[in-house]
């Protein structure tokens, strides 16, 4: 959490992750070059470079898309989620090298504008089999550029988390375009069983993970709780919550985090204002609820970030009866002071 913007927010863990990303990318490229020249020595260097960076970008895109649902299915993957942005920018760089060299190699050496040539060199837009696959790759690259160039916290803050998140969900469209780009390109240029198998397995894995995670969350959202005479919802026994930790509870489809700390209980909306991180998976540090994603902090009794920060989340009223916690489902306005419940 900081008041100013830094070009890259590095800490010890992020540096380790970034080293793994760089070394992993280099290892893949070296392996690809060596195997390509051994298996198919007739290939030109330009072709090998285009294929190496293209396949690297696709592999990284699959890893990036798997991180989200894996984290929702198993919290052990959460540390990778925190570093996903650097992986995304690295993936864009690989895709950009692939696209840039391809455009130069196939379209920039003639008299036609290379971008115009991408759209007009193959005009079989009416055919699915012979559809101009380069156009699909170019559109995917534009989306990835848009995402990489707005990945910084500056844009997150100024575009608002809602617009930023919506913008970055375009990655799913980019993925669909990339799958079609590779699939059609492979069939039109060189039918490789390895490429096809990887692509189909990748698609089944990624879409399967996302759907399994989505239906698991949908099940959680649909859980019904006992309601008492005054309309308050039964949450759990107070002993079920660990000290300085929270229980996440669903109220009308929204997640609420009920924290236990210093002999008190407080409830706030579960979603961090910074980037939508799950506050209920964080803990109370120095009296503040601390988001596990980027360390944004909130005071438990009013849902406000400590000065000079201005973030605020919705707060909720709690009641204790025979050791059972009840919550008033009608949340207060963001940042409203609610007296903590002593237990």
């Amino acid at each position: 959490m900081g008041l100013d913007y830094k070009l890259v927010l590095w800490n010890k863990h992020k540096k380790t992750y970034d080293k793994i990303i760089v070394l992993g990318m280099l290892a893949y490229l070296v392996l690809f070059f060596v195997l390509s020249f051994l298996i198919n020595p007739e290939l030109t260097a330009e072709t090998v470079i285009i294929r190496a960076f293209g396949s690297l970008a696709i592999l990284m895109l699959h890893i990036i898309l798997a991180i989200g649902p894996l984290s929702r299915l198993n919290p052990q993957f959460l540390p990778i989620l925190y570093n996903r942005r650097h992986l995304g920018v690295s993936m864009f760089l690989a895709a950009f090298i692939h696209g840039g060299i391809s455009i130069f190699q196939f379209h920039a050496l003639g008299s036609t504008n290379p971008i115009y040539a991408i759209f007009t060199s193959n005009m079989e837009y009416g055919s699915l089999t012979n559809f101009p696959f380069q156009v699909l790759g170019f559109l995917a690259l534009l989306i990835l550029f848009l995402m990489a160039s707005t990945s910084h916290d500056f844009f997150l803050k100024n575009l608002s988390p809602r617009i930023w998140k919506g913008l970055h969900m375009l990655v799913y469209l980019a993925y669909a375009l990339v799958v079609m780009h590779v699939f059609l390109g492979a069939f039109q240029q060189e039918t490789s069983p390895f490429t096809m198998t990887f692509l189909i397995l990748g698609f089944v894995t990624i879409s399967g993970l996302h759907l399994v995670a989505a239906f698991k969350e949908s099940k959680v959202d649909g859980l019904k709780s006992s309601v008492d005479d005054s309309g308050w919802l039964e949450v759990c026994n107070v002993n079920e919550i660990a000290n300085n930790r929270a229980k996440i509870f669903t109220v009308a489809g929204e997640r609420v985090a009920i924290f236990k700390y210093d002999g008190k209980l407080s409830a706030i909306h579960n979603v961090c204002k910074h980037q939508g991180g799950p506050l209920g998976e964080g803990k109370v540090v120095d009296g503040c609820i601390t988001c596990p994603w980027h360390g944004y902090q909130y005071l438990p009794h009013n849902g406000q970030s400590p000065p000079p920060f201005t973030e605020k989340v919705i707060t909720y009223e709690l009641r204790l009866s025979n050791g059972i916690i009840y919550i008033n489902p009608n949340g207060f306005s963001e940042g409203t002071e609610v007296k903590p419940l002593n237990y």
């Binding site: 007739e42 699939f183 039918t191 759907l211 989505a214 909306h269 919705i314 009608n330």
Partner: protein, 133 residues
């Protein structure tokens, strides 16, 4: 509950909305992409029997003395690779004679048992031109 939802800021509503959007997007991708890919591959020929993809007028071949073949390529090829094979007496591609790099005239010395030549795109695994003598 409706009152509760109305009280929430739209940004907060979006969180549950995002979960729903993710679910709908992946349902759509999971259904639409396989259908598109199926129709894209339905017209492909997987029989393995290939016809020459090059235009016959692009090539003019003539046998010279001493088993020398003169091959003229009149127009650029669309294929990225064009390897010239000699066809042996059994009709199979045999010895590699050389490569075509662009428009122009080429000469190849044929093996004794050659009954023709075949120009093959090694990258796309396509036959571009075949001729027998």
């Amino acid at each position: 509950m409706a009152f509760f939802i109305a009280e929430l800021d739209k940004e907060q509503i979006m969180i549950a909305g995002q979960r729903k959007a993710h679910r709908q997007i992946w349902l759509a991708i999971g259904l639409a992409l396989p259908i598109l890919l199926f129709f894209a591959t339905r017209d492909l020929d997987f029989s393995g029997e290939t016809e020459d993809v090059g235009h016959p007028d692009q090539f003019v071949s003539k046998m010279l003395q001493n088993r020398t073949l003169h091959l003229k390529l009149n127009a650029p090829l669309k294929n990225p690779s064009a390897v010239v094979y000699a066809i042996d007496s059994k009709g199979n591609p045999g010895k590699i004679l050389g490569q075509l790099y662009g428009e122009g005239e080429y000469q190849f010395i044929l093996p004794v048992d050659a009954s023709g030549i075949s120009v093959v795109d090694e990258l796309k695994n396509e036959k571009i031109y075949t001729t027998t003598f």
